[in-house]
Symmetry: D2
Subunit: 378 residues, 4 copies
């Protein structure tokens, strides 16, 4: 077993998501992080790299892409963990060098960037993987498989919600960097909560249900004084095949830390899952008692067992779910290096299409809301 040589763009000090990617890449021991352009200046980047024990530091992602591509032992893949508006340019630089890209979500800040990136991905000889990490949770895999094999019958209702509370007070005015860029349209794009977390809820709803949203009616709100991006969003969904849904994202709901929740109902049964208690999946076959399915416990199926590491009752968490995306990325990278076609290697991994779906979702929400919640096709 040889580890994949990995680089990272973004993820210097203070960055929450960069550290998450690094841990996720290590958990299953499939990657070795050897190069980075971790911050916006060469000096900061070098300091972060040294602190993290990363051998090679670069002053910019452009430089890194060229230099690493020129080395025999250069990176095989790169993780892009910058704010949204940098995603497209960085991804294109590495794809152009045939370096596989693992990119944080949402895809980009603007639809124009997204379209350009889509084109770059389609012409590239490398994988583009989007870390919709919540799809890596074992019980989400099980839910998806149960839906696919008919445990719920024909789907009727899909309720997704993702409330948080950290922007209840104006953190962006108090020097919190996480809050600053997320409330700034030039770095986040047109969506506030709907882009940052609503896209996760949308992605998960589609991933598990196997259905696409056809149209939506959205009412976006700015409750925080001085904000221009939504911090709360209410959305009604119409899915393909007649299913209906509600989606709620919020960053101003006190008492909700990261309360992503999915509930799906069909004519034969229902499923309920909550991200904060991810090892549980509630399943009710209609007319029978509710069952508490547990990760690697009784009732677990191959779809969840295959991405579990430890026995039931020993909770896995957010980092393990994230690690599964990395591990499947590693499998895909090795497959491509062994000659597999990129489309085949992707398998269930979220990629450019999931990213474009997310951008279309954000855009439709923003457009609908501007039109007083008129139904808007995706």
């Amino acid at each position: 077993m040889t580890r994949i040589r990995l680089g990272m763009v973004g993820g210097g000090n203070d960055a929450f998501i960069g550290g998450v990617h690094r841990i996720a890449s290590r958990i299953d021991d499939r990657f070795e992080l050897v190069a980075g352009a971790l911050s916006s200046t060469p000096g900061k980047s070098a300091a972060s790299a040294e602190a993290l024990g990363i051998r090679r530091s670069y002053g910019s992602f452009e430089e890194m892409a060229l230099a690493e591509a020129a080395r025999d032992d250069g990176i095989e893949a790169v993780s892009i963990v910058t704010p949204n508006h940098v995603h497209a340019a960085a991804a294109k630089a590495f794809l152009a060098q045939g370096i596989h890209v693992i990119c944080d979500k949402p895809l980009t800040a603007t639809m124009a960037e997204a379209t350009a990136l889509e084109k770059a991905v389609s012409g590239a000889h490398a994988l583009f993987i989007l870390t919709h990490n919540y799809t890596g949770y074992p019980m989400i895999r099980q839910a998806r498989e149960m839906v696919r094999t008919g445990a719920l019958g024909k789907l009727r209702i899909v309720q997704a919600e993702y409330p948080q509370d950290w922007l209840t007070s104006p953190m962006e005015k108090e020097g919190l960097k996480q809050a600053e860029w997320r409330t700034d349209p030039s770095r986040s794009g047109a969506g506030g909560s709907i882009g940052d977390i609503g896209t996760h809820a949308h992605n998960l709803a589609c991933f598990v249900s196997g259905l696409q949203v056809e149209s939506l009616a959205a009412d976006l709100h700015c409750f925080g004084a001085g904000r221009t991006l939504d911090d709360n969003a209410h959305v009604m969904l119409r899915f393909a095949e007649g299913a209906k849904g509600l989606l709620w994202s919020s960053q101003v709901a006190p008492g909700n830390e990261n309360a992503l929740k999915l509930r799906i109902y069909g004519d034969k049964g229902g499923l309920e899952w909550s991200q904060e208690d991810p090892n549980y999946l509630w399943f009710t076959p209609h007319g029978e008692p509710k069952r508490l399915l547990t990760r690697n416990g009784a009732g677990a199926i191959e779809a969840s067992q295959a991405v579990s590491r430890i026995p039931g009752g020993h909770p896995e968490g957010y980092l393990e779910g994230f690690a599964t995306i990395y591990t499947e990325a590693a499998d895909a990278i090795r497959a491509v290096q062994s000659g597999a076609k990129i489309s085949a290697a992707m398998g269930n991994l979220p990629g450019i299409e999931a990213g474009m779906d997310g951008m279309r979702f954000i855009n439709a929400c923003v457009t609908s809301s501007k039109n007083n919640a008129a139904w808007t096709k995706l």
Copy 2:
């Protein structure tokens, strides 16, 4: 202490809600049920009355209203627990005789009936009380008072949902009377799930928040084959003072028995309550740990203690919450009998206004949905 002499219209055998009203009227010992027109035929009515130990049975509510009004020891109040389309006529008959009316919800089957009843109530010398029973739960009283006194700050978001699962399969075709009339527009009115239970969610959201819904956008669905009334409804709400909300009612969500849930968030805190676990109220002052307030436990305030019967940890339930409406109705009846004005005696009791609000809510939902979820004023 003398018990109030009570009559009942509807509530014969098989009727769920009639039995509930009878127990609720007994729990605090303020009523004595002495007369009834319990079923649609004199024979059935008499049989039910005898089985229940009710002294006087009548063949119709019209007969009962006249006869009881003529007696010195006639009923002082009547409970109307029929299907919706009978509410208006029955209520008017008793109000015309000065007999106080305690009526099940929703107000009526049609807006025309509602308007006529509203007129009758305004001209009557008797109370009209609508049993929006969920307002009787102690922790709902506490939530309302906490909102009123500013524990949540300025309200931003009000999420109400009321999913059930009993109509997932076509029970109305299998001889279940409860299902038959609830899916029949001629007996239920224009709303299906939105009328039967959505009105409860709407009422509770307004009761606790102290806010009125100004406009809404509704997407009603009929999932059950052959149904003409909604069995699932998704509604976006705009409240007075800028608060926003979502409301979901469903009777086709497997795994939900009677899962009425209310969540309210302001700029200082959040509250969450679930009807199936009614003795708990989650309160999060923003930036502090979540607190589990319990009925008559630490953290309980006068507003909830006043309508509690037993100590914390000894669960009260649905029947006790319902009984509180009856007990407050008894207080109001005695007050009116002692000379109080009707409006003063009503206090916080739900009456014709709450009923009209509910009818306007149902109508707005149906109208909005017919107009492709266009925003509709109430």
Copy 3:
């Protein structure tokens, strides 16, 4: 249907359990409370009776027993809801008159009183019913029936606990009457928490498991300064047929309001139930997912349905469970009045035997603890 004429001894103002008995007797409309000796003095008794709308008030239970027995319309049954040390004398007075007795638990304050009462009961032409009210909860009935019919296989482990927190601080020194008599050996008997609530846990463990405790090893503690009765008790149990158990009662465990909990495990499955959430019963067939059985929901069986009033999802509580004991008492009284033998009429109702079991349990705990937790037979 004619209501049973009921009297009450004890239960004047301030008394928690008297009010509970009165509501419980009304819920299913089988009793009419017509006479009382509610307090320790004639004046207080009369005032309480008037406030409660009870027609006949007596200055003492002795007087009441004689007077009521002499009336054609005298009480048919009496509820005894005094502190423990009065139970025996009061019960004997009514039994001697052939008046059926419904008595609060524990049976008596001392074993001598208990033995005398046992003798009186065995010679009486009236029922003696002990309100071990927790046996009236529907899901407890279901649990018992599931055990009886083998859903758990052969029983191995029975864990019962009943922690409260209200005596964490010295309430008995702050004028709380409930605390005063419960910490006073002359009124409570030899057991503190073990007598007041440990007996409930013991009774419930035996009721559901169908097993008797053969011997126990108990470690009783007095944490509150100046107390002579235990406020915390740890007990190891050995049941008949080889099952083992732990029992914990406490009144000094902050965060526990009334947290009676029962868990039973056999070689085929496990059951878990909590009094504070009584409408749920967790059932795990070994090797299968945990199931959440709900009162009157999917998975409910005749044993629980028979003692349920309203549909699943509409929570019943403590008062309804208590009411079931009263309703079954009413059935038993009517049966005896129709000629049934007393033993046959008792059915599953807790009576003198359950009471003696409880007294033996308290005594064994006290004895064992004095002997440094030596194993002590019941």
Copy 4:
């Protein structure tokens, strides 16, 4: 930052705990696994090492200890993850070479081995760390600190339980290796469930309470046919300073996967924690509402934040708690290499003393149970 060179003894294919140690050692990137004696034969060891990407494989731990000690780039530390009866010999071999030892629990299979190991540790120039991993959970650290700083007042009651269900049926007869050695006294030692998991509960109770068990009364049971080691244990505890406790370990309680739970009560408040939902800590200051403290959420203190990786609401799990032990081991190793004394470097890490405490606990339980649950000093 340079990673610590790590070796591993045991942990070949099929071994649950070996994989856990490997992931735990990687999560915070402080170790590099470079050598192993993973299985009982050189061939199996080499195959496992190759599959795991470990450079150097040895046929035995003796060989590995000598060879690695002789290399300039030899391992600095070794993880011992074999069945219990190998712990002592392996640990002594590495300690003798000055190689730091990270050893799985319980310490050894027999008290004789334990005593010998204790002597070896006291004479060694290397650290001996025992992976009582549950002490690494952030909310356990917070609980300990809250107890230490008086949030509970004077401790009264400590309830620890650790039920599992996997040995409900005779898995050891069905070829499950995990079950085979755990039910075999020659490999596990004198304790069955009490040694395998009861020691965790004991360790955690002492770690959080800061109290030592002075004496105990234990009733051990073998429910599984043919077993000689306990699969269920009931224990009454007497702690220093007058606190009392109950401890329950079981492997035959259907519906319990890995349900380690700790509850601690003092005269000012109570704490409750459950391993299966480790990001939550319930705290009740006496007389106030229960609070749900969350990892890195509102209410989190330095003691838990210091060992957290990601924000509140993003659940960490078993592997992260385990990783914290490894990370603190890394800190201790680097400290010793920089000249710190071993005792000082250990800090709060569980070591030989915690191991000896665990052995004394197992021994006392077995002894007490043989003496019919007589009180036995530790």
